[in-house]
């Protein structure tokens, strides 16, 4: 009898794990399904080309928010990706084992877990207050701070995959260490580094909280980086929490565009990395 009981328990537990996996996928398809269903009607050419219109008028798009998001991502990438890659070079090429590099790795991991709204507060008190106005620039800095630890960890993983024999071959030819790193090690890991950076971009593309008190949002076009700028996640937030049905529809459409952007970045990065590994 005991033997049978063990079999039943086994079957029950394995069934539970499978059910847990199914349950986990329900919200994914729920969210994707509803965003597609409610958003697809309003995503048209006007949505990409027009500015938002005041309440009560029909039509209007999110052109400024889409461009704003792209500008913010560009600022964040220009600041965050080089810092991240250089820091990762230090951790793999110059100092892999000491307590100091362990401390840096640890701090990097912990920094990843700091809530993004905290970054928003800090950038506000340190930069927005000093400059006396909200700006695209401060929003980009906030996003860059979120990107840096992500870029460091992914680049580090990629640099570690570069075989030591390649570095040794460089040294044997009399090439200085710095040139070996820049001209041999980095190009070898280039694909992986690009993948990691794309994932970091995807991570910040949908961030809203750090932009609330930095980029602020803008109904119109921002003419320079010292002005408040619109961003897709900010517009979705504003429209979703408004009482107007027409704005709700715009929020669904904006979400569809944002999800599409994030998923394309993610899927491309993962697929590129996977083919590389096989």
């Amino acid at each position: 009898m005991k033997k049978h009981r063990r079999k039943y328990v086994n079957a029950l537990m394995l069934a539970l794990f499978s059910i847990a996996t199914l349950i986990a996928l329900v919200p994914l398809f729920g969210v994707l399904g509803y965003v597609f269903k409610n958003g697809v009607m309003d995503v048209n050419l006007k949505f990409f080309l027009d500015l938002p219109v005041p309440m009560g008028m029909t039509g209007g798009g999110m052109a400024n928010a889409i461009v704003g998001t792209l500008i913010l991502i560009a600022i964040a990438s220009v600041l965050g990706i080089p810092i991240g890659i250089l820091a990762a070079i230090y951790l793999t090429e110059y100092d892999r084992l000491s307590w100091f590099s362990t401390l840096i790795r640890f701090t990097t991991d912990v920094l990843t877990g700091i809530p993004s709204i905290i970054i928003g507060i800090v950038v506000y008190t340190a930069i927005v207050v000093k400059m006396k106005h909200f700006s695209a620039f401060s929003g980009g800095i906030a996003l860059a701070i979120i990107m840096i630890p992500v870029v460091i960890r992914s680049t580090e993983e990629m640099l570690k995959l570069v075989p030591h024999t390649i570095r040794e071959a460089g040294y044997a030819l009399g090439i200085p260490r710095w040139r070996t790193i820049i001209q041999i090690v980095l190009p070898t890991a280039a694909k992986g580094i690009v993948t990691g950076s794309m994932l970091a971009v995807a991570r910040v593309a949908g961030e809203t909280a750090p932009l609330l008190f930095t980029a602020l949002g803008n109904q119109y076009w921002a003419h320079n980086l010292n002005q408040p700028i619109a961003a897709l996640p900010l517009s979705i937030y504003e429209y979703a929490t408004s009482p107007y049905k027409q704005w709700h529809e715009q929020a669904w459409a904006g979400s569809l565009v944002l999800i599409f952007l994030v998923i394309i970045l993610n899927a491309t990065a993962r697929l590129a990395f996977r083919t590389r590994n096989n």
Partner: protein, 316 residues
């Protein structure tokens, strides 16, 4: 100086430059961390000086009377995160076991990609979905059902509102599930196969093998993963702000509106009209920072100790 010396000097300068440049960028990380803590500490001085420790225990949040206490927000953050943990913890570990121990290679790569997608959906989109789909569902069917069958527990009393603590907890559960699943899977993957084979060789069923060999071996890492999930739940802002109801009260019912630390910062920061108000909001941020910092540090130590260590590896 002959030619050889020149080359040697140039090499030395190049090496030193790159080394110092990369070192400087690595120090940026530590600098950022210190800067974040310092900046928040300085900006919350006014509130700290005025309220002292009573800030943590004061239940009143009244900007008109200049009386600020963080307790309702701490309560809302903790309760919503615990709901999320209670739901996402078991399911996340279940997903990790399914992927690591049961699924075939093909199924695993598809499902782990889907779970990664769940993590990639922006918070604000979850919030939108929760306002218009999840909350009405809670209001019309889930909450009345809970009230009817479990209504003798104070948690499930009161009128079904939809937007409230339960909605906040549920949306957080969805958002932290991928974190828990991914970290648990990572530590389970680090269990040596010999452990599994030894258990199977002793006649264990698959579940017994998972329990004896896999879970026993990786439990502190799984705990670390759950703590990382909790850290994410505590600091999650947008989705919670959109559905938790935003009312600074401590009520026993899970259906009732509540407020969280991140949500009050998101809602009131740009409306804080005088410096004590702003300073109090920053102090709430400082508390949140301190909690997530400690939690993340402990969790990382646990995960590191099981799966990978600091990942140094041999230098050339």
């Amino acid at each position: 100086m002959n030619k050889q010396d020149k080359v040697r000097t140039r090499t030395a300068i190049g090496d030193l430059t790159l080394r110092l440049l990369t070192l400087g960028m690595a120090l940026v990380v530590v600098g950022l961390m210190i800067w974040i803590g310092w900046q928040m500490y300085v900006s919350s001085q006014e509130s700290i000086a005025k309220f002292g420790w009573s800030f943590l225990t004061n239940r009143v949040w009244d900007p008109v009377k200049e009386n600020f206490g963080a307790l309702p927000f701490i309560y809302g953050t903790l309760v919503s995160s615990l709901i999320a943990l209670a739901l996402a913890g078991p399911i996340g570990v279940g997903v990790a076991i399914f992927l690591n121990e049961m699924a075939s290679r093909k199924v695993r790569s598809v499902i782990s990609f889907l779970v990664e997608l769940l993590a990639a959906i922006p918070s604000v989109v979850y919030g939108l979905w929760a306002i218009f789909i999840l909350a009405p569902m809670l209001r019309n069917s889930v909450e009345p059902w809970l009230n009817k069958h479990l209504g003798f527990i104070p948690l499930f009393q009161g009128s079904p509102v939809g937007l409230g603590m339960l909605a906040g907890g549920l949306i957080l559960a969805i958002m932290i599930l991928p974190t828990i699943a991914a970290i648990s899977r990572e530590v389970m993957a680090a269990v040596p196969n010999t452990q599994r084979e030894a258990a199977l060789a002793l006649g264990a069923t698959k579940w017994e093998m998972i329990r004896i060999a896999v879970l026993a071996y990786s439990k502190s890492g799984i705990l670390g993963g759950v703590m990382l999930g909790l850290g994410r739940a505590l600091g999650e802002t947008m989705a919670v702000t959109m559905v938790i109801g935003n009312r600074p009260d401590i009520l026993p019912s899970l259906f009732a509106p509540a407020y969280s630390m991140a949500a009050v910062i998101a809602n009131e920061f740009t409306e804080a009209t005088y410096s004590l108000y702003l300073s109090s909001l920053v102090e709430i941020g400082l508390i949140l920072f301190a909690i997530t910092l400690v939690l993340n540090a402990l969790a990382r130590l646990l995960v590191w100790s099981v799966s990978r260590g600091p990942k140094g590896g041999q230098l050339v």
